[in-house]
Symmetry: C2
Subunit: 468 residues, 2 copies
């Protein structure tokens, strides 16, 4: 029998059983204790090492648990077959390296007219924080348990009411699916529709949705737009079964799809059973003139519209709560194919949002933001007046961005000169998904994340830069 | 020109412009104002209705925005082509119905031995709440902005350290992807691996993972297990390229994969470039004897193991934070194909968890829970002793459930009699994915969610019920 010469160090912090375990383990790994070799009995090893028998028992138990040795009844402990070690050795010193990841070289612009910028400066953080605190006092145990895969019903009921009153969307709470962001919901929707769908998208469009849908193995058909939105004869030609549109405020062009085109689109969907319309209502809360344009879904009598909305613009991108409204038939299919996915939004977050909406804070916040963004929007338009007849502006009166076209300058040049002056503007070409080139001379400029004085200064700097 | 006879009600709460807008809109919808009909000028309508011209302007603007009418320069306003209304009419009265969804008829058992039950009674809610509060004071603005799609780096660094010290997992923070639950991470992983993979899973296994992987269009091959875990010759026969295993504590059988089998499995993965092992380390935190079994990933020198873990068991299912560690090559692929998906975990939640771990609260909580669950585990085993030789117990010393087999009774009968006595036990058959039937006489009994006295009483009631 193999004699174990273990040098126990009673001063070490490591428990004695672990020292024994580790010693034997290394002996086996290094092949010094070969397969089938018998180990000393726990009693004799305890005597030899002058430790209690239970210490040796613990060490042997651990070795048995991990499969290094085997216990044969009435015979003793034997080394298991482990010598063919993967790659021959165990990296003793492979610590998780704690290097900082190299910081991405992000150019810092003085004023960044990012189209996805939002203004968080008057978000009611105090309210949100107090609610969070209260919720965790009142509902702690319940909220740490698993919830409904589609989202908790009270929040879905509140969203249904909100959608009805603000967007004229017709739905029951049961049709609403809550998920951690639009990307995730598009992944779920892809499962519901089945992969490999032919999906028509406006060209130009929201590139992120395009990327996600493409990544879910759908075939995407870019469809030309006229000034009323997606061109329906082009849509028909593609043979697509699903149309992804942004009727309330197309991104990036800012087109509002007029009622006539909406009716034609719904008619298109009606013609074949498997046709659907995905309505992305991403920033419909912000309209600065008149009342909001109702959702396309509001006109849908035949369950043809999948309505998608988000709190990314109206509250904050970081809260990761979006929702979609599924027509009845797709709802059944969702239950069939998606019930295996647990909800991606924590119940605490769902509850905070519920309280925030129920307490009227969401509406107040929206009203405040609408005013604030309108201020920025108006200020931006005023600042742009200094360009006089040199520019044309598109997509005003809604959303958080404008499109600007210089009559005698190319967008590329504008953006380049802007960048040199540390002013960041964006190119429509980033929203291209097809062959369409007719908007390439437009510049996208978001104002949501900038203060009014920053907008004014930014435009002033840009103007000076272009004059040079 | 059409004469509009609008009966304005100045006492109504509805603004005058809206009343005008609504009247004209309905006239168009109902076909009374036909296509191409010219509307009165804003000036003449204002005079007629005795309202300010800006009121009429607002109404007309809204109608133009929504596409009901068109403005022709120097000519006036004309009705657009909208008469072919979708389904002929507009449902004036379609309110979102606010019915409560019918409550699911869930049988309430006196004692539910659910294998996914956890004990939240000593969760440090106060600490969590205070941290949440503090975080929202300190980091509010920053945390409401969009974060890294893979999760925020500080949290990933903390998880990397934790995995190294507790599970001997070797990884850099950069390899970690944080997501809202294992289901979601498996969806992402499916994108990374490519759909239609051949995936081998232990039969029996964690059914939820099976459902998710199946839903992602992979072909799943059930592989028989022996007492050391997945049978490798069976694995080889399937032709699968990916093996999904739970080496630390197989669900539901509780098998610890011994070192020898682990090496063989790693060797299997090495044989072909495209082979990978998914290690689901779902409840490895809870081991009641000796020290934790290191992760399989700890032995992986060739980037063959995709390690997955979750805070569902160690904190709470509702917090929706899981993580996976991607080998280098898959990490590159992740960045190619998944960078379009925004993170599904809110940055606030990520920051709370970060503070919770950094402050040592996670470790303390784990230690407390390990003791508590060990108490329940021991208490359960003691209670089961009253069955004497009639039963065999499997999968003890780890996790939050046991397997019990009655020698002369079928599992079906036990479960049925238990249910009649309001004691809920679970069948292994729910974990079947293939033809395997050899475990069908085992009963799964979780103890995580029950108090010690409930475990004792539950077993007593079960015993009485079986004696009848």
């Amino acid at each position: 029998m193999y004699r174990l010469i273990i040098d126990l160090d009673t001063k070490k912090k490591i428990p004695l059983y672990k020292q024994i375990y580790e010693y034997i383990r290394m002996e086996i790994i290094e092949g010094k204790l070969p397969y089938k070799e018998q180990l000393p009995s726990t009693r004799s090893l305890a005597v030899q090492l002058q430790v209690s028998r239970s210490t040796v028992d613990l060490a042997y138990d651990q070795l048995v648990s991990e499969g290094y040795i085997e216990a044969k009844p009435c015979k003793g402990y034997f080394v298991s077959q482990v010598e063919e070690l993967y790659d021959g050795r165990w990296k003793r010193e492979n610590k998780a390296e704690e290097e900082e990841s190299p910081h991405r070289e992000e150019k810092k612009f003085t004023y960044d007219f990012a189209p996805n910028g939002i203004d968080m400066s008057c978000f009611p953080y105090n309210v949100w924080r107090k609610m969070t605190n209260q919720i965790m006092l009142d509902h702690e145990k319940e909220l740490f348990q698993m919830g409904d895969p589609m989202g908790d019903l009270p929040l879905r009921q509140t969203i249904a009411k909100y959608l009805h009153s603000s967007r004229m969307v017709n739905c029951k709470a049961e049709q609403i699916v809550i998920g951690a962001g639009n990307d995730y919901l598009l992944m779920l929707l892809s499962k519901v529709l089945g992969e490999g769908q032919k999906i028509a998208m406006e060209d130009v469009t929201y590139k992120r949705a395009y990327d996600v849908l493409k990544s879910m193995n759908h075939r995407i058909f870019p469809v030309e737009m006229d000034k009323r939105g997606m061109d329906l004869s082009c849509l028909e030609e593609t043979g697509a079964g699903i149309a992804y549109v942004m009727p309330a405020h197309q991104f990036p062009l800012g087109i509002v799809m007029p009622i006539g085109r909406r009716m034609e689109l719904l008619q298109w969907a009606l013609e074949k059973e498997e046709r659907y319309i995905i309505e992305d209502d991403y920033d419909s809360e912000f309209r600065y003139k008149g009342k909001p344009i109702p959702a396309l879904q509001a006109w849908d009598q035949h369950e043809k519209v999948i309505y998608m909305g988000t709190f990314s613009k109206s509250i904050a991108p970081a809260i990761r709560i979006s929702y979609m409204v599924l027509p009845g038939r797709l709802l059944l299919r969702f239950k069939e194919v998606c019930s295996c996915y647990a909800s991606t939004v924590s119940r605490i977050d769902q509850r905070i949002l519920y309280d925030f909406m129920q307490g009227g804070h969401f509406e107040r916040h929206l009203n405040k933001m609408r005013k604030r963004y309108k201020g920025k929007h108006d200020c931006f338009l005023t600042a742009l007046k200094s360009f006089g007849e040199k520019i044309t502006i598109w997509g005003e009166n809604a959303g958080l961005h404008l499109l600007i076209q210089w009559k005698s300058k190319e967008a590329k040049e504008i953006i380049k000169k802007g960048e040199e002056a540390m002013i960041k503007l964006y190119s429509v070409t980033e929203a291209y998904i097809g062959q369409e080139k007719k908007y390439e001379n437009m510049v996208i400029a978001g104002y949501g994340g900038l203060k009014e004085e920053e907008i004014v200064k930014g435009i002033q700097i840009l103007k000076d830069a272009l004059a040079m």
